[in-house]
Each structure stands twice: as structure tokens, then as C-alpha cells.
């Protein structure tokens, strides 16, 4: 770098000029940076502010927090808007069950494939990423007959949407867990534990799982955020959740539905910010080099067919 900066022209003449140039460039870049960030920040913050303003409108142009007071008073809320409180309860059930089902289904499978069936790894990865190319609106068309059977066996409760949601979160959860497993040496850990007499259950539950705890956490966070925001499948299969309730409420009480929207949004914000904080601080330098768990890091590897180069520090970018 130093050689390049000096160049081959006589340094007495070119060096100050270049420094001047780069100083000017830095100034210009700073001006551009703040202009771009400010303009876009206004665009992105305006709707959020507008929601707050909209929900605090009172009679006679005064601010009033009645809507918010109603929203935090559960008893009164379920009396006034029974559909909304039912939707919130349904969403809570869906969130808990989807997180459980996703983790129970995915974590052991991914570990097992890594340890015992490495040839299946590509297939599992492909299957897990497949939902990214099938829009939810398409999936719901095919799910309708499947759900006829689900109703037959398990009943028509809204909680049964868990199955469909598990499919929807598969790509995100897989990426998170796979990144976590790539950062540790699963094979060595497993062999060490096995050679000390541990069964496979012990290996998974007490050896590998604690090592990928933060990956599992981020998979769970993403699942929560996605399930809380899901509307397509619930609405078209005539089930209820909080988004369907908001949409339904929008026709009668716009203020309340905007308030719930803002609350749901803030909740998702907090969840994903927590996730990105966990991701930002934690750098795994055990085996995987400069890998990081972050929303951003995972997102960028969303190519279905893209090659994956293992073990190189640049892998995050590929």
C-alpha cells in the first residue's frame, strides 16, 4: 500500500497534491453521506411518526392517549375488540409452537446430517432454502387441500398454522443454525464426547447444543419476528392471528388498528435489534475465522444455487 501511495512520480510534487485530493474527496464523501442518510431517514421515519400522531389524535385537535390506554388494558381490550384479543392469543400460540417445532425438527436433523450423513447435506440445504423461491401466496394455494386433512385429524384451530409457518421460516432458521455449526468443529466435539462414552442424545443435548446456543437463539428470534408479521396464509386459510385481526379492525376502527400495527412493529424492531446486537458483539473466532452471526451476514448468503466455499475467511461475502 505504501508503495502504491508514493507512486513513481517525483514525490516532492505529487504527494501533497494527492493528499489534497484525498482530503477533498473525504470532505465530499462526508457531505454526500450525511445528505443521503438524512433524506432517507426522513422518508423512513415519517410513516412511524405519522402512526404515532394518528393514534394520539383527540377531540378538538388535542393529543389524547386513550387508544394506547385501551391497548394496554387487556380486560377492556378483549371486551371492546374481541377479535383483536383472540388474534393476539392465537399469534402467541403460533409463535411458541412454531419456535418449538422449528427447533425440534431442524436442530437435530442438521447436526445429524453433519455428523453421520454428509452426503445429504446439499439436499437438506436445498430443501430448506426452497421456500424462498415459492411465494407464500403460491404455497397457500397448494396448502388448502393439505389443510383439509389437518382439520380432519387435528381440528380447525388457528394454532395448526404452525405447520405452514415452520415451512416459511425454514430458510432463515436453517441459515442461522448452519452458520452456528460451521463456526465450531462439530465432528471433533462429537468424537471426543463419544470416545468418553456419551450416547448420541448426550452429544447433541449437552455437547453441541450449548456451543451453538446463540445461533439457536437467533433462529428463534427470526422465527418470532416472521410469525408475528405473517398475514398471507392465515388470511387465505380463514384462520386468525394478530395481522388478520388488524386488517379486520381497519374497516371499523382505524385508530386502534394503526396503534396495534405500531405496537407490533416496535416489538419486531426490539426483537431484531436485540438479535443484531447479539450478532454484532459476538465474534466466533474458534475455528470459523471471522464469522459473525448477524441478520446482515446471513441475508447476504441467500443464493439458492450459489457456491459456498468453506473455511475461507471471505466466505461471508460469497
Amino acid at each position: 500500500m505504501a508503495g502504491l501511495t508514493l507512486g513513481e512520480t517525483p514525490p516532492s510534487n505529487s504527494r501533497p497534491r494527492r493528499q489534497r485530493l484525498s482530503a477533498r474527496r473525504a470532505r465530499r464523501q462526508r457531505a454526500f453521506r450525511w445528505a443521503a442518510v438524512t433524506v432517507l431517514a426522513v422518508f423512513f421515519l415519517l410513516p412511524l411518526l405519522a402512526m404515532l400522531e394518528f393514534t394520539t389524535r383527540g377531540a378538538g385537535g388535542k393529543r389524547s392517549f386513550d387508544t394506547w390506554r385501551l391497548l394496554v388494558d387487556w380486560g377492556r381490550l378483549s371486551e371492546t375488540y374481541p377479535a383483536l384479543s383472540a388474534g393476539i392469543i392465537d399469534s402467541a400460540g403460533q409463535v411458541v409452537l412454531t419456535v418449538l417445532l422449528t427447533l425440534v425438527l431442524l436442530v437435530p436433523t442438521v447436526i445429524w446430517v453433519r455428523l453421520r450423513l454428509p452426503r445429504l447435506r446439499r439436499l437438506v440445504e436445498f430443501v430448506c432454502l426452497l421456500p424462498l423461491t415459492i411465494p407464500a401466496i403460491v404455497l397457500v394455494v397448494g396448502l388448502a387441500p393439505v389443510y383439509a386433512w389437518v382439520v380432519y385429524f387435528l381440528g380447525g384451530s388457528s394454532v395448526t398454522l404452525t405447520f405452514a409457518y415452520t415451512i416459511l421460516v425454514l430458510p432463515y432458521a436453517y441459515r442461522a443454525i448452519d452458520a452456528g455449526l460451521s463456526a465450531i468443529d462439530v465432528r471433533t466435539l462429537a468424537e471426543a464426547a463419544r470416545s468418553l462414552g456419551a450416547g448420541w442424545g448426550t452429544v447433541m443435548w449437552r455437547v453441541i447444543l450449548p456451543n451453538i446456543r446463540s445461533a439457536v437463539m437467533s433462529a428463534a428470534f427470526l422465527t418470532v419476528a416472521l410469525v408475528l408479521g405473517e398475514f398471507t396464509i392465515a388470511s387465505l386459510l380463514n384462520r386468525s392471528n394478530v395481522q388478520v385481526a388488524i386488517n379486520f379492525l381497519g374497516k371499523s376502527s382505524a385508530t386502534m388498528s394503526v396503534a396495534v400495527s405500531l405496537a407490533a412493529l416496535v416489538l419486531a424492531f426490539v426483537l431484531l435489534f436485540l438479535l443484531s446486537l447479539v450478532g454484532g458483539r459476538r465474534r466466533l473466532s474458534l475455528v470459523g475465522g471471522r464469522r459473525r452471526f448477524s441478520l446482515v451476514g446471513r441475508r447476504r448468503r441467500f443464493s439458492l444455487v450459489g457456491r459456498r466455499r468453506r473455511g475461507t475467511p471471505k466466505e461471508n461475502n460469497s
Binding site: T55, R116, P135, G229, F231
Partner: protein, 313 residues
């Protein structure tokens, strides 16, 4: 690689065989071990078959089946109807326009971030916020915009009362295509920041210095060095944005309660309204059409991704 991995996986269960008899028994054991270890993935594949493979097949087969279950091409032929073609054209137009706007604005913002200090506060805050906003779609987004520029929204009222500007003097466009473009842009820009930032990070300062030491200007650097290197990444990200907008449903559904502007809304009608005789499977044909478009776009994206990885990987 798999063979090495395979071999190292097994010695735990198979101690080194001493004679020929032991060897064959070892082989038998090994094949038993392999098939029993296949059992471990049965739950996963069973679940995926029921809730992912079967729905996909239902769509794919249903698109070619008539009301009586016999194979037919009538559903696909029905796609050529004027109103369906219009919906597809509008869908593609909406996705393309928002993808391009989102890509340009997002790339500018991403470049602004790259010039900031790495690990600095600005960059961390903006990337984290982008991560959240890119996921933020659906009903909540529609309501956010109704509260902002709806008929009694914050901005609408402010402009009317204070500046005397009526943004709806030419008709209410929020619930039409222009409204959809504006609302979709809201989640496309952050997504672009997320997917394009890594490519910009891959640009090395040495390349700029090399250009300068060879006497190149800033324009030449962008035109001859950075531009061609970033072009595949930019195009690829734009395609991803296109697919993202094309498959979005919830925002449009909450915003446009009447009418079938775009394909997802057409599918909604096909699913929820009384089925017109002879068109039971039309929704499946439209769904298949969507899958084909998304698959083509994602295939191109994968190709471009490979090209990007060559330099900026």
C-alpha cells in the same frame, strides 16, 4: 471430501478389522449403521414432504387438471385472458419499477455507509435498521402509509392545512398502482442496503490507489474499475428485489381491498370467491405462472452471484 468425512465418521463404531471374516462383518455392520442413521432424518423429510412437496405438487399438477381431474391445458390457455395478462403485466411492472428505484436509492445509501468508518455508530445503526425495515411488510406497512398519506393522514392533513396543497387533487392514488409503488419502495430500499453492502465492502482501496497512481481520474475509476466490478452485484441485487416485490402479497391485500390489480390479488379472488364453473384450477395455473417467473429471476440471480463472487467474493 465426502469420502474422507465418511471414513472419519465411522471408526468409532468399527475397530480396525483383523481378518477377512471380520472385514465382511464390518461391511455389514457399516451398511446397517448407515441405514439406521438414515432414520434420524426421517421426521424432517416426512414433514417437508407433507407441507412443502405436496403443496408444490398440488399447484403444479392442479394447473394441468380440469374440474373433473382429467389432464387439460385449458387452465394455462385461460391465462391468456385479457384480465389475467393485465394483472401479470402490472405485477411485473410494479416489481420492476420498485426494484430499480429501490436498487438505485439503496445502492446510494450503501455507498454512503461504506465511506463511513467501519464499525462506526452510523453504519451499525443504519444496517440494523435496514435489517428490521426490510422484514417489515404486510398489513402493518399498509396501515403505516394510511396513517401517513391516507385521506386523513398526517402528511396529507399537514400539507392541506398549512401549505394548501392537496396531494389527491387528481384522485386518490394511494390505493392504486402509484400508491403500491411508494409503499413497496419502503421495504425495497433497506433490502438493497443489506444485499449490496457486502459487494461494496469487497472493493479494495488499493484498486483506487492503483488507478490514481496510473493517472486515472475519479470518473475513470468508476467507469473502468469499480463500475464493471460492481455491475453484476448490482444487477443481481436488483433481481432479488424484483423477486421480493413480485411475491409480496400482504401489503397489497391490506391496501387494495377491492379490485385485482396484481397477480397475488387475482389469486386471492380465485381462492375466496365463488368458483366459476370450469375455472376451479385457474388459481393454480396463476400460481404456477408466478413460480415460473420467480424461478427464472432467481436463476439469473444465481448466475450473477457467481460472477460477483469472482472479484468481490
Amino acid at each position: 471430501m465426502p469420502t474422507v468425512a465418511q471414513r472419519s465418521a465411522e471408526p468409532a463404531s468399527n475397530p480396525a478389522p483383523a481378518g477377512r471374516g471380520r472385514l465382511s462383518r464390518g461391511a455389514v455392520n457399516r451398511s446397517i449403521a448407515r441405514s439406521s442413521s438414515l432414520l434420524g432424518v426421517v421426521p424432517f423429510f416426512a414433514f417437508v414432504t407433507v407441507f412443502l412437496a405436496i403443496p408444490t405438487l398440488v399447484v403444479a399438477i392442479g394447473a394441468f387438471a380440469g374440474d373433473d381431474g382429467r389432464p387439460t391445458l385449458a387452465n394455462l390457455a385461460a391465462l391468456a385472458n385479457g384480465y389475467i395478462i393485465d394483472a401479470f403485466v402490472r405485477s411485473i411492472l410494479l416489481s420492476a419499477v420498485t426494484a430499480v428505484i429501490g436498487a438505485v436509492l439503496g445502492a446510494l445509501l450503501a455507498y454512503a455507509l461504506v465511506t463511513a468508518k467501519e464499525g462506526g455508530l452510523l453504519r451499525r445503526v443504519v444496517t440494523a435498521a435496514s435489517g428490521v425495515l426490510a422484514q417489515f411488510g404486510g398489513v402493518t406497512l399498509a396501515f403505516a402509509f394510511m396513517a401517513t398519506i391516507g385521506l386523513s393522514g398526517f402528511v396529507t392533513v399537514f400539507l392541506r392545512d398549512n401549505l394548501g396543497i392537496d396531494i389527491y387533487s387528481g384522485g386518490v392514488w394511494l390505493f392504486e398502482m402509484p400508491g403500491l409503488v411508494l409503499v413497496y419502495t419502503y421495504f425495497q430500499v433497506p433490502l438493497m442496503v443489506i444485499v449490496f453492502l457486502p459487494a461494496l465492502d469487497g472493493i479494495r482501496p488499493q484498486w483506487r490507489e492503483a488507478t490514481e497512481s496510473l493517472g486515472g481520474s475519479t470518473w475513470q475509476y468508476w467507469r473502468r474499475v469499480a463500475g464493471p466490478l460492481l455491475a453484476p452485484a448490482f444487477l443481481g441485487s436488483t433481481l432479488l428485489l424484483f423477486a421480493n416485490a413480485f411475491s409480496a402479497y400482504a401489503t397489497a391485500a391490506a391496501l387494495v381491498s377491492q379490485g385485482n390489480l396484481i397477480v397475488p390479488l387475482q389469486i386471492r379472488t380465485a381462492l375466496t370467491s365463488d368458483v366459476v364453473l370450469g375455472q376451479q384450477n385457474l388459481g393454480k395455473a396463476m400460481a404456477l405462472g408466478m413460480v415460473v417467473v420467480v424461478a427464472v429471476v432467481m436463476g439469473l440471480y444465481a448466475l450473477l452471484q457467481r460472477r460477483t463472487a469472482r472479484w468481490l467474493g
